[in-house]
Symmetry: C3
Subunit: 223 residues, 3 copies
Amino acid sequence: MVASNEGLQLFLDIIGVFVFALSGALVGVRKGLDMIGIAVLAWIAGLGGGMLRDVFLGDVPPVGISDWRLLVTALTAGLFVFATHHQVMAAVSDMPRVRREIMSQSVRTLDAAGLAIFSVGGALKAVAFGADPLACVLIGVITACGGGVLRDVLAGQVPELLRRELYAVPALIGSTIVVVSFELGHLSEWVVWASVMLVFVIRMVAVILDLNAPTALRTGDPR
Amino acid sequence: MVASNEGLQLFLDIIGVFVFALSGALVGVRKGLDMIGIAVLAWIAGLGGGMLRDVFLGDVPPVGISDWRLLVTALTAGLFVFATHHQVMAAVSDMPRVRREIMSQSVRTLDAAGLAIFSVGGALKAVAFGADPLACVLIGVITACGGGVLRDVLAGQVPELLRRELYAVPALIGSTIVVVSFELGHLSEWVVWASVMLVFVIRMVAVILDLNAPTALRTGDPR
Amino acid sequence: MVASNEGLQLFLDIIGVFVFALSGALVGVRKGLDMIGIAVLAWIAGLGGGMLRDVFLGDVPPVGISDWRLLVTALTAGLFVFATHHQVMAAVSDMPRVRREIMSQSVRTLDAAGLAIFSVGGALKAVAFGADPLACVLIGVITACGGGVLRDVLAGQVPELLRRELYAVPALIGSTIVVVSFELGHLSEWVVWASVMLVFVIRMVAVILDLNAPTALRTGDPR
């Protein structure tokens, strides 16, 4: 069964946390925050989605404050960004446009990996806790998107989730597949991996083709 | 007893969720968000108050992610606003001032109905969970006001609750009546209905007379 | 043992809540909010950290909505600020620079006291609930810093925690001492008091020397 493979799950969790924590730290750098602020944003971006998941499942204290491996991962990402942002920024501004494009694409690729891992992993945990199918699906989506939303709210910007081309949809597809497979008794490691890959691919296609959900006509009052 | 009338409670819940979800979707349209962003704001506005209530009562996963009827209600409201906002906006801008005023008043009437249903309903659920009286009263207020606060925080605006003429007070009155009646052993369906009506009427009077709580003198630093 | 001294704990809690509630009310005055808005910000600043702590410990409903003594304390602070802000503002603007400086220093001294009480008190409660050591430490920090973060998010400003000179670090030191002492079997009333004093002193030194954590270079995109 899936849950038995704990080493693998941990490995995936660490990748997901690291990637999202990087995104939080980068937002902190962009806002000119100090080291503590950057560490807090790395923590909330990397572990906030999992904390919402755990509160909604009643599994408290959430892993986001109790699992030292994930905490160390998030803080490492924060420190890494803090330590290197000067050089990276300088390097980026000197870069030819093409390499800058490549770098920005790498970040989005990592982010897509985090989205895939967290949506599937969140749904798996919810299923293991015996939550209703619908709740499991949404907990997968919240696990994947919650950290980014909390990061943006703390940083004082409208969450990217609300503004950005198809982000929640791949997460929704991935967690739905996990939950439906479980309900049908077909949840295998194979299904889990296929779901992770599928979310990743859909998200990357959306990024590459710059796919967007239809937008409302903006009407007055920009803030 | 009150809790027995589940069909009626569901009916009320659906009205409350629909009305608040409309408000969330309208904020999304005003911000020029895409379909996903509008759906997220409709969900959080319609179900966020109930999710805070459930987390504070330890009733997890909260109904806001597990009850498909309420979720469908919120998403329907979001889709409805998204599908019609173009026509509605055009119609509104062509409207004579009087009809526009009528329309805005209708929205506030619906919102007052949601406020009444959620404050009384939230207090009822807290009482059924055996929470302390004071906690029950505040859970009623949080159920009624929490969705709007979360909506505004996600949308990047200072919550209307903090800015707007008497909004929390009618909710406080309604949930207090429910809890006091329960403590006195007089909680009947009649009391519930009277409380809902009372909250609605007080809120409408505040809207119509444009009653405001006293305001602090603004002093420097607008942000 | 520590927990036996309930009268003292309550006394400390009330001081902490009062001080932080004052900070919330002052933010509300600066934003020109009405009485309700100021009361809400006083409540969330004074009791928000404790509510996060209780949700993370599964101790619901949180004391922030169920303990009338703490609620009355927060509301009293809110009303006090609302009732006196006119005179205070006038007095401050007439004050010679020196006295104004003294006043601002008093506020920060009170705030440092709140930080000390809440970080140590939050860790103590987590320890009493049998949470993992790491979780206990972080729950102490969240208890101390959470109310200010929620206050700032609701008020539409980037949390001071992210912007301000060493704020989270003293809280982290205080809750760490409590948790380590507990793990080593040396948690005594003496340790608790020493921790509170230490947090207070570190924070005041940071305030007086204007110590700051290193800051990221701000790079473009101010929002």
